[in-house]
């Protein structure tokens, strides 16, 4: 197996809180001690509820936020250390991002062609003809007519706009695309179309995805491996079948249980009470302790170690 293209080691992100300075300064521990890797042509699904830190992880990966501590290596280069800026610049072309809201991800005053070509224009080195040819090629790839070039985003539906955003992301032939809730804003029928498009593009170009989503079913359908985040930490990471068929962390089990099923009879629920802890002053022990049905005394004091449960299957829980 070749070296992974993404290696994230013990990364944390702490945001200083607005308006609190000096004595009672507070900070938000959005991501704590997260580690994972992504291999070439692989999709890592990252699931979690709102505030779990999954989106922050994605943003750190493309350099929107610098990591507070830990190491992020992309394509073998460290984008978190001293040479972060230069290294990020070197790998920038190989990175792209697809946002949740296709409405906000496109400048309403920019024609679709110009939007798609923006990464080309920023990088430079494409003449008029090459630029035009690439735009048309990209439109073909995502299944939009070439006549879209001179149209504006408001003339398209949500699903079509997301295709435009994907075309823009593909412009420079990246190797890694971070999809942050990329299909969450779409209706079911549109969602299926865009998911299939992403899969086709991956097969065609050998892309890797970090696929961030709250919808567990969608994540299962696209991912090779899946990581589950809770309150800033990864609680479990496993190949998809292992995660869905034999989840070992109590949170993963509860999460899977909580999803309403269309087919088949609902299983008796082991329903989670309460809500995730505040990340301004996160608990010392296991962050899931306050809601865990199996909680023991040590869970409240001691942070759980990461245990290997099976091949590529790890979970952070005292009780495994």
């Amino acid at each position: 197996m070749t070296a992974p293209i993404v290696e994230v080691t013990n990364v944390s992100k702490i945001f200083p809180m607005n308006g609190t300075r000096g004595r009672n300064a507070q900070s938000l521990h959005a991501v704590s001690n997260v580690s994972f890797s992504i291999a070439a042509e692989e999709t890592l699904g990252l699931v979690g509820e709102s505030g779990s830190g999954k989106s922050t992880v994605g943003r750190m990966l493309v350099g929107i936020y610098p990591a507070t501590s830990g190491q992020i290596r992309l394509f073998g280069r460290d984008i978190s250390g001293d040479a972060a800026k230069a290294n990020l610049k070197a790998v920038r072309r190989r990175l792209q991002f697809v946002f949740q809201d296709p409405q906000a991800a496109l400048n309403p005053r920019m024609a679709v062609g110009d939007a798609i070509a923006e990464p080309l224009d920023i990088t430079g080195g494409f003449d008029r003809r090459q630029r035009q040819a690439r735009i048309e090629e990209l439109l073909d790839m995502v299944g939009l007519p070439r006549s879209a070039v001179r149209r504006y985003p408001h003339e398209f539906s949500g699903g079509q706009r997301q295709r435009i955003v994907i075309a823009r992301a593909l412009a420079l032939q990246p190797d890694l695309i971070v999809c942050d809730e990329a299909v969450s804003a779409l209706d079911v029928s549109m969602q299926a179309q865009v998911v299939n498009l992403l899969m086709d593009l991956q097969a065609q170009f050998g892309l890797s995805y970090l696929f961030i989503a709250h919808d567990l079913a969608v994540v299962r359908s696209v991912s090779t491996r899946v990581a589950v985040m809770y309150a800033g930490s990864i609680v479990e990471i496993a190949p998809r079948r292992a995660l869905y068929e034999s989840p070992s962390h109590p949170y993963t089990r509860a999460l899977l249980d909580a999803v309403p099923r269309v087919r088949g009879v609902a299983k008796p629920r082991e329903m989670l009470q309460g809500e995730p802890p505040s990340l301004i002053d996160p608990p010392t022990g296991c962050r899931f302790a306050s809601r865990c049905p199996l909680v023991e005394t040590r869970c409240r004091v001691e942070a759980p170690p990461v245990r290997t449960v099976g091949s590529g299957h790890q979970a952070a829980c005292h009780l495994i």
Partner: protein, 329 residues
């Protein structure tokens, strides 16, 4: 089914919006019945007209840009659509209550939650400020908000999304309504919180003997929660069914496509089935059956004649003549 069984009947409802100087039909010819203590689910994608239908029941659609082109909404022998505003006001919140999708924006940010819950009681039961506040605490207890006595004086922005939706529910059940309309009540919430809220609604429904109309785009939520389901597409009900039959044997190609397009959490799928194309422009719905441009089973007549609902059995209706014919054959 006898009309007397139904606590609420929507009959031939057609609602239009004004857009760019034209009237555009958002809801067309919708018929729905809600029996006493029943839970009716309305499922559909955005633009299907499901929320508009629900809002029309309480007259909460924007009055200037909307018109009811036809139809009746019968509740206890009266037509809600022709009721004078004051009479409708006495029903709103007291007999028919409603909760909405976004608990963040649905609560008034400058009033305490106690004020807002108490307001329902002050309006309908003429309670004084102190009594209303006391009742508000009881209601917060009922929706399982811990530490209700302290929380009652909080402002909405201090509560989490799940808590706010509980406050909305407390507000809605304050006067023990006969009908609760829940418009995408869990869409903005996380899945574990969604489970809590659905559970709470289920318990309250039993405790208070309410009938419920649940609107959602999520087939899973609808499937687990409701007794009767109507599927809407482009402003029309395309199929309805009592019980789980709809999921086992959909009688409309749209329902079929929708169910196939949902990724399955319990198995590894290689590739999702899709419905080609996109939802039609409500200003220019297709001739004939509204689904025919996207339908894999369309036959020539589908392009020409707009189909009516066809009754298949006591439990089922569909707007797809070819499927109906195949079934009876």
């Amino acid at each position: 089914m006898q009309p007397s069984d139904n606590i609420l009947s929507i009959e031939k409802l057609t609602v239009q919006f004004r857009s760019g100087g034209r009237w555009i039909t958002a809801v067309q010819d919708v018929n729905l019945d809600l029996a006493d203590r029943e839970c009716l689910g309305i499922v559909g994608e955005s633009g299907s007209g499901k929320s508009v239908t629900a809002l029309t029941v309480l007259g909460l659609h924007p009055p200037k840009s909307t018109r009811i082109a036809s139809g009746r909404i019968r509740y206890q022998g009266r037509d809600l659509l022709t009721l004078p505003p004051r009479a409708l006001g006495r029903i709103r919140g007291a007999e028919i209550a409603m909760i909405f999708q976004d608990p963040m924006s649905s609560l008034n940010p400058v009033l305490t939650i106690g004020d807002q819950i108490g307001e329902t009681l002050r309006i309908h039961q003429g309670l004084g400020a102190d009594d209303a506040q006391k009742k508000a605490v009881e209601l917060l207890d009922m929706v399982r908000i811990p530490d209700a006595r302290r929380r009652v004086a909080e402002y909405p922005h201090r509560l989490s999304g799940g808590m706010r939706q509980r406050v909305m529910i407390a507000m809605a059940i304050a006067c023990r309504p006969k009908i609760l309309i829940a418009d995408e009540p869990t869409t903005a919430l996380d899945v574990t919180v969604q489970a809590q809220i659905l559970n709470l609604l289920r318990e309250l429904r039993r405790e208070l003997g309410m009938s419920v109309i649940l609107i959602s785009h999520d087939m899973g939520v609808i499937s687990e929660f409701t007794d009767k389901i109507a599927v809407m597409y482009a402003g029309q009900v395309v199929e309805d069914a009592v019980g789980a039959g709809l999921f086992e044997q959909p009688m409309h190609p749209y329902t079929d496509g929708l169910l196939r397009a949902i990724p399955d959490i319990d198995s590894d799928t290689a590739r999702l089935a899709t419905i080609p194309g996109s939802i039609p422009d409500p200003g220019r719905p297709p001739e004939g059956c509204r689904f025919h441009p996207r339908c894999p089973e369309a036959v020539p007549t589908c392009r020409q004649t707009a189909p009516a609902m066809i009754r298949l059995s006591e439990q089922r209706q569909t707007r797809c003549p070819p499927r109906a014919a195949r079934r009876s054959a």
